[in-house]
């Protein structure tokens, strides 16, 4: 279960991830315009949301580690996240 974040470092990281989530549509559109394509995530839970959940559950460092590990593992039909 997700917990409320009280640690300021965790809060900053979560807000940075939210910032990325807000800016991502601009990057996506920019890539399609200039290069003609951009990959889209179709997982029920995106890596950014997953990272936020892991930070809330396990703390900033472990959460970030789990998030990065998920991004690196992300490939076709991978389901073991």
């Amino acid at each position: 279960m997700s917990k409320k974040l009280t640690h300021s470092r965790g809060l900053v990281v979560v807000w940075l991830i939210h910032g990325y989530q807000l800016l991502h549509p601009i990057l996506h559109q920019l890539l399609i315009t200039i290069l003609g394509f951009s990959s889209t995530c179709r997982q029920p839970e995106s890596c950014s949301n997953y990272t936020i959940r892991q930070i809330r559950n396990h703390g900033t460092m472990i959460g970030l580690k789990k998030g990065f590990s998920r991004i690196l593992k992300c490939r076709s039909y991978a389901t073991n996240h």
Partner: protein, 256 residues
């Protein structure tokens, strides 16, 4: 980095030698670069098309696996596998793409703003434009905005909400968490819808301040994207939005 920039610059200079103008060399470079990138864009476009086709089946899966996120994820991946859809190119290619974008910007700015490269004097005149400076007649910024709007409408059919797990868990805490996730997805969808119109305006303003050579590249590459998109998924959201606008102008028109 500098070596790659030099290679791109050399290609541009050679194109300038062939065409005799900075403008035509930028257009030829756009066509060349996008043609080289085409084999990378095609799988992504094919996947997008297939994902649209399997949407009804995805909805059925969501109904079937209500509240069970893990099972839904597995079933969804199985469905993609069945239809040979590879949507998970992931975020890593985007980082490479971003690098390429920065590199292109760097190369073009260098090419446009340098009057002479390797002893070759560049001719910045192109029709009414001086490509080293912003377009004073505002033609390119307007064109950049319009083409961006057309492309935005083509690739964003109706501003769909990203798939979310149905929020019918028995646990109140899980419900609260799911609600947060839905809100975020809703916000992303709203943002995507706003982007349809924000991006063209932003593009036009950027093109106003950029040297017109860069604006020319932007317009040319957007036109290439529009043609590419048209051949893969037709007019997409553009036909939907034009029907909506027509329905507003003529309320009696029946939308099929």
């Amino acid at each position: 980095m500098q070596q790659i920039t030099n290679v791109f610059l050399e290609i541009l200079v050679q194109l300038h030698n062939i065409t005799g103008s900075l403008g035509w060399s930028i257009l030829a470079f756009t066509f060349l670069a996008r043609s080289i990138l085409l084999p990378l864009s095609l799988p992504s476009l094919k996947s997008q098309k297939k994902i649209k086709e399997v949407q009804p089946e995805l909805k059925k899966l969501q109904e079937k696996h209500r509240g069970d996120k893990k099972a839904l994820q597995v079933a969804q991946m199985e469905l993609y596998k069945k239809y040979n859809i590879n949507p998970l190119a992931g975020c890593l290619p985007q980082i490479l793409q971003l690098g390429l974008l920065i590199l292109l910007y760097h190369v073009l700015i260098n090419f446009i703003s340098t009057p002479e490269i390797n002893g070759v004097v560049l001719n910045p005149k192109f029709f009414w434009l001086d490509l080293a400076h912003a377009d004073k007649l505002y033609v390119l910024p307007v064109l950049a905005g319009i083409t961006q709007l057309i492309l935005s409408l083509m690739i964003a059919p109706g501003g769909e909400v990203r798939d979310v797990v149905p929020n019918d868990s028995k646990s109140k805490k899980v419900q609260v968490e799911n609600k947060k996730e839905e809100d975020m997805a809703q916000m992303a969808a709203t943002m995507q819808k706003q982007m349809l119109f924000v991006m063209p305006v932003m593009t036009a303003f950027l093109a106003l301040s950029f040297p017109s050579g860069l604006a020319l590249y932007w317009v040319a590459t957007t036109v290439f994207s529009i043609i590419q998109q048209y051949f893969f998924s037709g007019w997409g959201g553009l036909s939907l939005y034009s029907k909506r606008i027509l329905a507003k102008i003529r309320p009696t028109t029946v939308i099929k």
